[in-house]
């Protein structure tokens, strides 16, 4: 029983982080209509920035705030430098996708070159609780609570603020959005800032909960992308549900399989959904 509870808890915790990655990824996809694969590398970039700030002795609260701000700005800079010039030249979604893969490789390599190949970790005091026989750390409770609050906040932002509605309008129909005076370029900048800000939070949480390594961004985008595909790329709540599902399945799966198969389980799920339900659980008819 306690093992089952432990695996479910682990699944929910890592699934929550995947949900943050998938939400940012899905938001960017819905507004810009292309797959920003370098989103995972923004998570890794944020995690390393956070590690650096902690090492510089800035303290946890200031490091968290600065990391989120830097990640947001970094997202906007990526859009301005890489995607905006391509959009101006009427580049197709496929071209933008290739550019995003190139950017992902570039960022991963840059992290490797600057931070080195060794695994890094951020030491923090982390009390452990016992919940129905499972061991849960204080940080893990904070992760679930923070992700939950962030996603609720994002929901209200998108649903009830003028900017949120303008972003939804751009996602819904870009051409019509322009006729009501919405500047699409501004929306792209904002969505990259918000999506990358969420990636920044995910980077912080991964940095605190797990170890840092240069290729971590690739792993994060595979999980986030899988979650988004399972939930339905066009649905942000679907992406959250899909990511929790990925977290749960890969953790419960290691009850029967060696833990090294976690990534393989995520890939298997991705293939199954791409083959049989490519629009996901909440993304409408295939």
């Amino acid at each position: 029983m306690s093992v089952a509870v432990q695996l479910i808890m682990n699944g929910l915790i890592i699934g929550s982080i995947y949900a943050l990655v998938a939400t940012g990824f899905s938001l960017i996809y819905n507004v810009t209509k292309f797959v920003h694969f370098a989103h995972g590398s923004v998570v890794a970039f944020a995690a390393y920035i956070f590690y650096l700030l902690i090492k510089l002795g800035l303290g946890l609260p200031l490091s968290i705030i600065l990391t989120i701000i830097i990640a947001s700005i970094f997202g906007a800079v990526i859009d301005w430098i890489v995607y905006r010039p391509l959009r101006k030249r009427k580049a197709s979604a496929a071209v933008l996708l290739i550019a995003s893969i190139g950017l992902m490789i570039l960022l991963n390599s840059a992290i490797l070159a600057v931070a080195g190949a060794d695994v890094k970790s951020i030491p923090i005091t982390n009390p452990v609780f016992d919940v129905w026989g499972a061991r849960i750390t204080q940080l893990q409770v904070i992760i679930i609570a923070m992700v939950f609050l962030l996603l609720i906040g994002l929901y209200f932002f998108m649903k009830h603020t003028k900017l949120g509605k303008a972003m939804r309008a751009t996602a819904d129909n870009n051409a019509v959005a322009q006729t009501v005076g919405i500047n699409p370029q501004k929306m792209y900048t904002y969505v990259f800032m918000i999506g990358s800000g969420l990636a920044g939070v995910a980077g912080i949480l991964v940095g605190l909960e797990q170890n840092l390594f240069p290729e971590m961004g690739t792993s994060m985008i595979i999980k986030g992308f899988t979650g988004a595909v399972i939930g339905g790329m066009s649905s942000v709540p679907g992406s959250v549900a899909g990511s929790l599902f990925v977290g749960l399945v890969e953790n419960i799966g290691i009850w029967w399989l060696p833990s090294g198969y976690k990534d393989a389980i995520a890939f298997a799920l991705l293939f199954v959904f791409l083959l049989f339900k490519p629009k996901g659980m909440f993304g409408g008819k295939s």
Partner: protein, 228 residues
Amino acid sequence: MMLQAKNMSKSFGGVHAVSNCSIKIPKGKITALIGPNGAGKTTLFNMISGTLPSDAGKVSFNGEDITTLKVHERARKGISRTFQMTRTFKNMTVRDNLKLAQETTDDKLKIALSKVRLQGFLDHIAGELSYGQGRLLELARSMLLPHTFLMLDEPTAGVNPQIRQEMKKILTDLRKEGKTVLFIEHDMDFVMSISDHVIVLNEGKLLMEGTPKQVRSNPKVLEAYLGK
């Protein structure tokens, strides 16, 4: 003049959709843009609203050159438009569709909706409305924008006779309010019954312009529609 488009040209590949076409839209009037299929009406319309960049030509609005302005910048100047195929924000409520045009109270939104007989639909998802209702919502949204110039691309296409009558009343009410309307239409009875000024295009060029009576009695127009 409210709007002037001078020497407008647009080619797609080797096909000249609009060539060296100039039109003037008088202020406070309803102007119809007509012509047989392939005459270049929608192309010219799209170049004026900014959704399609022109190869050549100049567009002036209230005396200001707006040729290089983007769609959203033209919208902010007061140019509002609808599309040939109904385009609403399908995943959003009717309320949110309207509020994107103008942030205002529910009471004012209900008044705007009552003008197009969609009162009671405020909380409906736009994608669930019928085609005709979607057309009316699109019109209500365009009218809510702080516009002075309203462009309608085939407003009565695919709608039932009742909605067609409602459209007629809405457009004549807009004229009474001093608004300027430019619309593309294939229904000649509709065009002749409400237009003050008619512009006829053929093969991407201006064929003639004048009052509905002048257009109706011009043999060139008949020839363009029916062939020699």
